[in-house]
Amino acid sequence: MTHSAWNSTSTLVCAMLIGGAIGCGRRHATVQSKPPATASPSEPSVSTPLVSVPALTYRPPSPGPNDQKTVTLAPFQLEAHAVTNAQYLDFVGAEPAWQRQRVRAVFADAGYLQHWPGDLEIATSDRDLPVVNVSWFSARAYAAWRGRRLPTQAEWEAVAAVGLLALDGSTELGTMKRILDWYSRPGGAPLQAVRSTPPNCLGVYDLHGLVWEWVEDFNSALLTDDSRGGGSKDNSLFCGSGALGAANPSDYATFMRQAFRSGLRARYTVRNLGFRCAADLVRTH
């Protein structure tokens, strides 16, 4: 398998601007792939462009007593937008075990790809919509097929905290409000195409406002550093009690995502849960 997308844009500019708090500029134009409107139904989809993510500082939302309060992540790459139905169709065409009628029950529940008209058929209007109704196993298999992986929760959250104008989005009150507005909207609204929300300053689209996304370690959201209490710490995570111990109580959206993830099982599929892939930085072909 060959991959043409390792030539992702360098975003060192952002890293260099951290100290100056100037913001990192709107460089998203450099990571756009082909405009969706030009893609014909028969045209194979391409890998999503990867955006280089500098070494970001991540604040675990509910650190245990022995956890570090901040973690500096290694630089990595993240796909600029969520995987689309068209891209996922190519995957199940190449990997028949992941077609709807063939997928094994241990890997996906009965809702898997239920919005597709057929095993190898998607509505033309769905081509550029994020693929949903996919399980964690299937998302992982897609990523492996692309030579990529799922982002960790820390990686996803760190990029999700990047602002539209600066790497630290927490100072952008308008951004915070926009994020919370999406979570407060009732579910069931029609999905929009990928890249229909503004990119953050790294050029990553749709981390807020489109779909929920799988992460590699989704099932560790409720675990703390102490197994003696039975492995979870439910009473210290949710709502008021969780916010009391939180690193940043104002980021309520983070807690909503943690609560959502903790309710998932790896074979579950949800009609507004998709994914995007990540990649390590030091890969050359």
């Binding site: 029950a105 196993f137 675990l223």
Partner: protein, 214 residues
């Protein structure tokens, strides 16, 4: 993930978990499976992963190393009921108690323990080499019914998700993890789940006993 395994009749037709379809197929295949295995075709002539029921945890296509250094595919673990959990041998609190609970369960099973497997999968592949697992088995006095396995992290994460036994690496090299274990039948289908340390093992014993009658 490799997906070039041969597609069996059962897997190909029953993928979506339609209960009636599975049941109908099971009936249709009944003559091939023999009357002692009415609900599944795991003992069909082909054998191997392609004959596993679609919901079997042994469908995971990873390869592990046991405490003797032998390569073990998860599919090869079908054939006996199994008790499966995740541990790490450097664990000083919960894992020794989980292992002690399983040793007690094994003792309670008596002679039937030879017809089941206790599968302890490490969540710490960096430190839990086959040699380390062998040392742990010796130190804890684990009998031959105990299989200790290690595999790269990505495979551990997948098994953890399939078993719904989450874990998380901590900054100090240890792990936060759930304290339970699962019981699966000879085909790898989940029978019951024990969630806490020191829990009553009676549900596990009953599940194993039922599975051995299949």
């Amino acid at each position: 993930m490799p997906t070039n395994a041969p597609t069996s009749l059962l897997r190909g037709a029953a993928g979506r978990g339609t209960a009636t379809l599975i049941a109908a197929l099971a009936l249709a295949l009944g003559s091939a499976c023999g009357p002692s295995v009415p609900s599944c075709c795991a003992e069909s002539p082909e054998g191997g992963a392609s004959a596993l029921p679609t919901e079997s945890i042994w469908n995971l296509e990873s390869t592990w190393q046991d405490q003797r250094g032998a390569a073990i595919t998860l599919a090869s673990l079908a054939g006996r009921p199994a008790i499966v959990t995740l541990i790490f041998t450097h664990c000083t609190y919960a894992c020794p108690r989980i292992v002690a609970d399983l040793q007690e369960l094994s003792r309670q099973l008596g002679a039937t323990r030879e017809r089941v497997r206790f599968v302890l999968c490490s969540m710490d592949p960096a430190r839990d080499t086959p040699a380390r697992l062998a040392q742990f088995a010796t130190e804890r006095g684990l009998g031959p019914e105990f299989l200790l396995l290690t595999s790269p992290e990505t495979n551990v994460r997948e098994l953890s998700a399939a078993l719904d036994l989450p874990y998380k690496a901590l900054d100090n090299g240890d792990f936060a993890h759930s304290n339970g274990y699962v019981v699966v039948d000879a085909h790898g289908r989940l029978l019951t789940r024990i969630r806490t340390l020191g829990a009553d093992s009676e549900p596990a014993q009953r599940a194993i006993s039922e599975a051995l009658k299949q």
